[in-house]
Symmetry: C2
Subunit: 463 residues, 2 copies
Amino acid sequence: MSDVVAAALVARRDEILERLMALLRLPSVSTDPAYAEGMKATREFLMARLKEGGLEDVRLLEGGGQPAVTGAWNGAPGKPTLIIYGHYDVQPPDPLELWKTPPFEPTIRDGRIYARGASDVKGSTLIAVETVIEFIRAGGCPVNIRFFLEGEEEIGSPSLRSIIDRHPDALVGDAMISADGGRASTTLPTVSVGSRGLTALRFTLRTASKDMHSGRYGGAVRNANHELARLIASLHDEDGRIAVPGFMDDMAPIGPREAEDAAALPVDEAEFYGGIGAAPYGDPRYSVRERITLLPTIEVNGMWGGYIGAGSKTVLPCEAHAKLTMRLGPGMDPVRAQARVRDHLLARAPKGVTLDFEESGNGTPAFTLREGHPLLAAAETVIRRTRNRAPVRARAGGTIPITAIFKERLGIDTITFGFAMPDEDVHAPNEFFRLSSLEEGLRAWPLLLSELGNASPEALRAG
Amino acid sequence: MSDVVAAALVARRDEILERLMALLRLPSVSTDPAYAEGMKATREFLMARLKEGGLEDVRLLEGGGQPAVTGAWNGAPGKPTLIIYGHYDVQPPDPLELWKTPPFEPTIRDGRIYARGASDVKGSTLIAVETVIEFIRAGGCPVNIRFFLEGEEEIGSPSLRSIIDRHPDALVGDAMISADGGRASTTLPTVSVGSRGLTALRFTLRTASKDMHSGRYGGAVRNANHELARLIASLHDEDGRIAVPGFMDDMAPIGPREAEDAAALPVDEAEFYGGIGAAPYGDPRYSVRERITLLPTIEVNGMWGGYIGAGSKTVLPCEAHAKLTMRLGPGMDPVRAQARVRDHLLARAPKGVTLDFEESGNGTPAFTLREGHPLLAAAETVIRRTRNRAPVRARAGGTIPITAIFKERLGIDTITFGFAMPDEDVHAPNEFFRLSSLEEGLRAWPLLLSELGNASPEALRAG
């Protein structure tokens, strides 16, 4: 049955690609209110497709922010119910001037589709949607389905908990498959067994009540840019090791399984650094794979202060701003990590320098899929069949908040089964998705749903 | 004669105020090409007034950038020829949201006129223009006049040398009076005897060739914001002392005259810091007056990198930017100071971090009017008469590039005789100019021109 479905999907490849391009034309940037229309149009697009494809109970799940899109199929009594996760929001496209073709005009070049959201994660989300629709068309799905297509993944899922709590009926399932969380290698087959956590901190630093003339005050007043620079510089040592006291205290030590998995998927440093034109960097006690998947980070994603227009302005600025996010290793508590960084900044701010922190949510802990989980077994079987070798177990350096939140709220586990690859410039200009990944996904997803149809709901729930 | 002229000017006060408001409505921001129309309109406004007032040879002096406005009066043969300097350009008005009334809609509140450029320096410039016009109307000026109204003061006068070199005929004079360079105290009468120099440095820092996803690369790649912060933090020590090796090596030591003048004009620290809501700061070996008028500074006027829009973005930025200006103490060479900072930054940039410096001109050295100069004697006489006590000699912390450049190119000295006060929020939101200063200026300028009519051209030129 899954072979028939996979063949039908591959035969419909051009039609599915057209649909993906239409989806990518809709500018669904969740962080910026200017894109509200694009967000709405994207939700409507997905709901229309789910209804057309035979899903039931297609609707929006409101939680106070951007609603999620859901749809169900209940035709496999006694079989497991799988929640399928994807997200329809994308990162902002700036800096716009660095895009070769406009971010919301998808363009195919050299077997790749270039557009904001192509890789993260409209491509993989549509693979999942079309797979379920094709099963329904062919007579029925091997498992019961609940789609959960989120609209706030790129902003840290602020109302996800609220959506889950307000709609307990819509989200009853035995386990989850996520279309987000891509592949770790462009060459080796991999299966994802975990991800880093994430928490954020945004603040404004002030040294005076107004901007000053550098000729009138320069030499006798603190410059907000200098003070912010000093605080940011204090977060790391010269080797890039985090210098915030206590930040990593609750992290689980890297064990033999983690070290072994990381070693099985060595990073080709020449390719890794060559591809981004950067020099090697990071904690020398760990391999690059460990640095980018297991170690925590503190990154200043944005900072600004004073005059940033054309030319010069001899202003002595009273205010400067920073936006930070921290990636978290296994075991680290997001709220505690956030507090450690906040405390460090406050402790180092000299007299006369104030810091105002913006409310920026609680964050998400790291996630790990335990050894022997039926989700993991099913994914490994599928990858072994489609790639003709056993997959390497890989942790993702990014964060899939949904995995941790569904575990916490509903007690269910997640396997990530996305088809993005690690070099596709997500969150950056010229993001792309490989057309070969589209086809690979359309072959693998039917198999995965079939495999999970053989698992018992109880075993899935037991984890 | 000067009393008659002063009385006539004071009688015309309301008319002159109307004219000042019209001038302030013209948005003449020199640093931003978006204001080209406002710059042009301002030049036309000034040329029309000079022509109407009986000045001859009214025209634009081109030098490749924003042209200067000139006009002459030659009716006092044998008397000195004075160049009168002012500038018609203003600082950018941002941050716009902090203005109580719009920056280019001048508004009178509590005896003050609020507008961008009111204090710096359209108010004082118009006082000079109207004084000369009133003398001409009354039968003639005690000295010959050349107006030189610049359009690039707020961007460091990049084409001033070129204007002077291209128009040697228009700028022949024995000395210069500058309407720019205001008063040092809101209570004590002062006369200005010098100013700090200024030089600029702007650069872009890069750690990679493209922005990266912090989940995919975080922990193994240098973040441009962190690197920029580290470099900026290295410019000063904890007390705000400059930490750039060799930066101050060529500075003239602070002598007994400088120390005495600084001590005669002590800064009221409670008022100084209270007025800007800041805590005391700066090199503890010097008084606040010395810090803000004699010591050099390095200020980061603007810095930015990564995502600075609404919400969060988990980008790991490859690029960050900084705009610096340095105030210079007496004796310091601007090009050398600039090179010292550039070398310091380059020496501290680690492998894999590149810095690209933007061309930002040569800068201006500090200026000092020597003891016993006839310009100084004339100004002291006028202030003694109008304020009934001898003025305190004050150095300006700001920079009047014109004084150094006219000395260098034409060998003439400058007295600054502006009526701005030090608390008028120049270069900041809600800039204002006191209406009382307008009247005071209209009384003092006629006296100054009369006094200088008694000086010999040779004595003025001899300095």
